[in-house]
């Protein structure tokens, strides 16, 4: 039998909070920890369509809040389809019908983020999968933990706008709010992993614990939550791959969240289907096994609503990133930002226009990637 696949997606979980968390740190000691995955889109819809297809939204069509139905299902095969084609039972439980592509899912469930107890609900799905697994049925289970979003929606999105003084001037309050929401997420992860262990899935499954994007706690005026800018507090995420037969390893090299899908397929030995368009992601299995692979440039894009109350239909803020550098192109006013992430991780000192050669190099890469092109090594 092949390995089962479980993804616990902690919507809006920030990397810096996981690094301070004893629960997440205990995972780090026992499994594969990636501390520098870069999301394609700093909001769930674009981010997760990219993860499911292993491809940037510049090519799949899902590049904004508005583009779920534009996903080119005839050109890009999702991880659910791959696993479904291999006779996996495929099931997802998500916050609404827009957040992931439905293709290949046997069951597509939507929870009520305001009412449902996600821990109990998701545990019951694990039990359902256990009974399937006992009958020699492989499964793929994608579970979105949406309660960080729920809190942010109620206490931030509905209360403040992207320029509210009272929000940006009270960083401490923002951090406390987030810390409280994150604590609940920790509890969820802890209980879910306990259940996963009890059901014996640690032995026969690959489990990915990941975040789709981070969330602002008031770092930059103009973005009260996420989806508007391309700064690291939303782009840089984390991932834990729980694979019993792989030694624990911390990978600090930059990777892309589009690499997750080919990594999982590689692990469960399912080849990429050449009948579909090629994907942007690459398997991280060599890296996970301790080999070296060259770092890839990560491309991301967001839709800055500016003064509007609705997110734009097309991305207008685009970035390319290496471990060291980030170049952001703000298309709405044709400005650029260049940051040295080693020396200025908070991205406050814009080096664009200071004559650094890297700016031109990155700009050329950005031009290619935003046009849906591919970079060679």
């Amino acid at each position: 039998m092949k390995k089962n696949v479980i993804i616990l997606m902690i919507d809006g979980a920030r990397l810096d909070y996981t690094l301070k968390s004893s629960i997440f740190n205990s995972l780090k000691q026992r499994y594969v920890f990636l501390s520098q995955p870069i999301t394609y889109g700093p909001h769930t819809i674009a981010a997760m369509h990219a993860v499911f297809s292993g491809t940037y939204g510049t090519r799949t069509g899902t590049n904004s809040y508005w583009s779920t139905y534009r996903f080119k299902k005839d050109k890009f095969k999702t991880i659910s389809q791959y696993l479904h084609d291999e006779n996996y039972y495929t099931m997802a439980d998500v916050v609404n019908e827009l957040v992931i592509p439905k293709q290949g899912l046997d069951e597509f469930l939507i929870h009520d983020e305001m009412k449902d107890d996600l821990t109990q609900r998701h545990k019951s799905f694990l039990e359902q999968m256990k009974s399937k697994n006992d009958q020699d049925q492989n499964f793929f289970l994608y579970l979105q933990y949406s309660n960080i979003h729920t809190g942010i929606m109620n206490e931030v999105l509905k209360v403040y706008n992207n320029f509210s003084k009272e929000y940006f001037e009270d960083r401490e309050k923002n951090e406390q709010r987030y810390a409280s929401l994150f604590k609940n997420a920790e509890k969820y992860v802890s209980e879910m992993l306990q259940k996963i262990n009890e059901l014996g899935f640690l032995e026969n499954s690959i489990i990915l614990v990941m975040s789709d994007h981070g969330i602002s706690v008031g770092e930059k005026v103009g973005e009260r939550a996420y989806g508007a800018f391309c700064y690291d507090y939303t782009l840089r995420t984390f991932a834990y791959f729980l694979m019993q037969d792989i030694s624990p390893i911390e990978i600090s090299q930059q990777v892309r969240t589009v690499d997750f899908m080919p990594t999982i397929l590689d692990y469960v030995e399912i080849p990429i289907d050449k009948n579909y368009e090629s994907i942007d992601g690459e398997s991280l299995m060599p890296l996970i096994k301790g080999e070296k692979i060259p770092e890839k440039i990560a491309y991301s894009e967001a839709g800055n609503p500016l003064q509007d109350t609705r997110p734009p239909k097309e991305p207008n803020t685009k970035s390319v990133r290496t471990s060291r550098w980030k170049l952001i192109l703000n298309e709405y006013d044709d400005t650029r930002e260049l940051y040295d992430l080693f020396n200025n991780p908070s991205e406050n000192e814009n080096l664009s226009g200071t004559g650094l050669e890297i700016e031109d190099i990155l700009f050329k890469k950005l031009e290619i990637l935003k046009a849906g092109g591919k970079l060679t090594k």
């Binding site: 090519r59 069509g61 809040y65 508005w66 583009s67 779920t68 139905y69 534009r70 996903f71 080119k72 299902k73 005839d74 050109k75 916050v95 609404n96 019908e97 827009l98 979003h149 942010i152 929606m153 109620n154 999105l157 509905k158 989806g227 050449k274 009948n275 579909y276 368009e277 090629s278 109350t309 609705r310 997110p311 031009e367 290619i368 046009a371 849906g372 092109g373 591919k374 970079l375 060679t376």
Partner: protein, 453 residues
């Protein structure tokens, strides 16, 4: 009963080698057929590669609607084969058995529709008409296995690089170049196919996906390489194994230096057309020798001995077939192609520009081009930068595109860029990208619920 359709698609066929003064192949069967049908002398393909070009033909859409980076055949929900099927047609044919074309194979009723296509290292082993495909076609046409009305499509690779000229045709009298000698050899098979077809009840169609470089004086880049096999063998014998890789690299480097120097000398005094004819066949190109393809119709409802010189495009092929045969193609949404039937009836149609794009490299560079052709001008430029690699040719006086007149004609460049922009502006890559009102309402509702609006 609806008429049958026989569509022979010759990979790499050039219009100027199919008919006309510059053709030196000996093709009595083809010549006879051309007299019995209508030839479009100015048909432009949508790209310089097979996949990009066939996608445009099969969907009757330009590549920007289908996917300019497609590596495999993309057949949209409402593609031309679906239209044929809905009209009761059974689809048969042969195409190379390669992943890129698998989606067409799925439509074929015949079992052995995939032809041998093996790529080993740099060599290709392809089953062309001259290597067994011809017999397969005859066998199927002969077998009565095809249920009428049938649509038969064959994509033959004989004219694609590397060319294998049958011994009996490898002679000056069958053409000036290997390319034309292969075409002479193919003619016999075209004659054989025609014998098996009831032309009174069949629409016959011959076209191609893109053209081909035919090296000036039959000497391409590789012909200028010095032979270094003996040196390599000797080096391998005397040098330790560890040094083989670096040694081979050095020898290849030296070989390329000698080749380039020889080529430079041999190219002295040649025209740009002649020089570029010697480039490797993989060179990205939107010049006429690559995008100007034949388009020929014969049989049912087709005027005889007629040549139409108006500009047409490969995307027009299927809409024309459908119109000739009275097939309803209303399900083909957003098609760029149009029926050429009025032209067959001597009616003038307003000219529509041809759009084309090169087969994309993995990393898009300035070699990747995009452009527009009218009957008067050819315009192309770097696909990622409209300010770079700008080419403009005046086709009537310069059919071989030797003089780039872009810098002296900024107004025409602007006009052509305007046509290109207008054509591609606000185009969503496929129908699924367009949101219906209901979809927009659903999204809006959900975004509101999630606090984003």
């Amino acid at each position: 009963m609806k008429p049958n359709i026989f569509f022979l698609n010759l990979d790499s066929i050039r219009s100027d080698k199919f008919i006309g003064k510059t053709k030196t192949a000996i093709t009595p069967n083809l010549d006879k057929l051309i007299k019995n049908g209508t030839y479009f002398s100015q048909c432009i393909s949508s790209g310089d590669g097979t996949v990009i070009s066939l996608n445009a033909i099969f969907n009757a859409q330009f590549p920007f609607r289908i996917g300019t980076r497609a590596e495999t055949i993309i057949l949209k929900n409402n593609n031309c084969f679906e239209t044929l099927k809905k009209s009761g047609y059974k689809i048969y044919g042969f195409v190379p058995d390669m992943l890129a074309l698998t989606k067409f194979l799925n439509y074929c009723e015949n079992e052995n529709a995939g032809c041998r296509f093996i790529r080993q290292r740099k060599k290709l082993d392809i089953e062309g008409i001259l290597d067994g495909l011809g017999e397969k076609v005859i066998e199927l046409l002969d077998s009565s296995k095809m249920k009428e009305p049938w649509f038969f499509f064959t994509h033959a690779e004989d004219l694609h690089f590397p060319l294998a000229v049958p011994k009996e045709f490898d002679n000056e009298k069958f053409g000036d170049s290997s390319y034309e000698r292969v075409l002479s050899a193919l003619d016999q098979w075209i004659g054989n196919f025609l014998e098996k077809i009831d032309t009174s009840n069949t629409l016959i169609l011959i076209s191609g996906d893109h053209g081909h470089l035919i090296p000036f004086e039959n000497k391409g880049t590789r012909d200028f390489e010095p032979k270094m096999k003996t040196g390599l063998k000797f080096g391998k014998k005397i040098m330790p194994k560890l040094t083989h890789k670096i040694g081979a690299k050095m020898i290849i480097g030296l070989r390329n230096i000698i080749r380039d120097s020889r080529l430079k000398k041999a190219n002295e005094g040649l025209t740009p057309y002649q020089k570029r004819s010697r480039l490797p066949h993989t060179t990205l190109s939107l010049y006429e020798e690559i995008v100007h393809v034949p388009l020929f119709f014969a049989g049912v409802n087709i005027p005889k001995n007629k040549i139409i010189h108006d500009l047409v495009r490969s995307v027009d092929i299927f809409p024309t077939i459908f119109n000739i045969l009275g097939i309803d193609d209303s399900t083909l949404k957003d098609k760029d192609g149009r029926s050429l039937v009025p032209m067959l009836e001597d009616k003038k149609l307003p000219e529509l520009s041809a759009y084309f794009i090169t087969n994309p490299h993995k990393e898009i560079t300035l070699d990747d081009k995009i452009g527009i052709r009218t009957s008067k001008h050819k315009y192309f430029r770097a696909s990622i930068d409209k300010e770079k690699e700008i080419n403009l040719y005046e086709l009537e006086n310069d059919p071989q595109e030797n003089n780039n007149i872009a810098s002296e004609n900024p107004e025409i460049v602007k006009e052509m860029e305007g046509i290109l922009e207008k054509l591609t502006k606000n185009v969503t890559i496929d129908e699924s990208e367009k949101l219906t009102e209901d979809q927009e309402k659903i999204i809006e509702k959900q975004l509101k619920e999630m606090g984003y609006i």
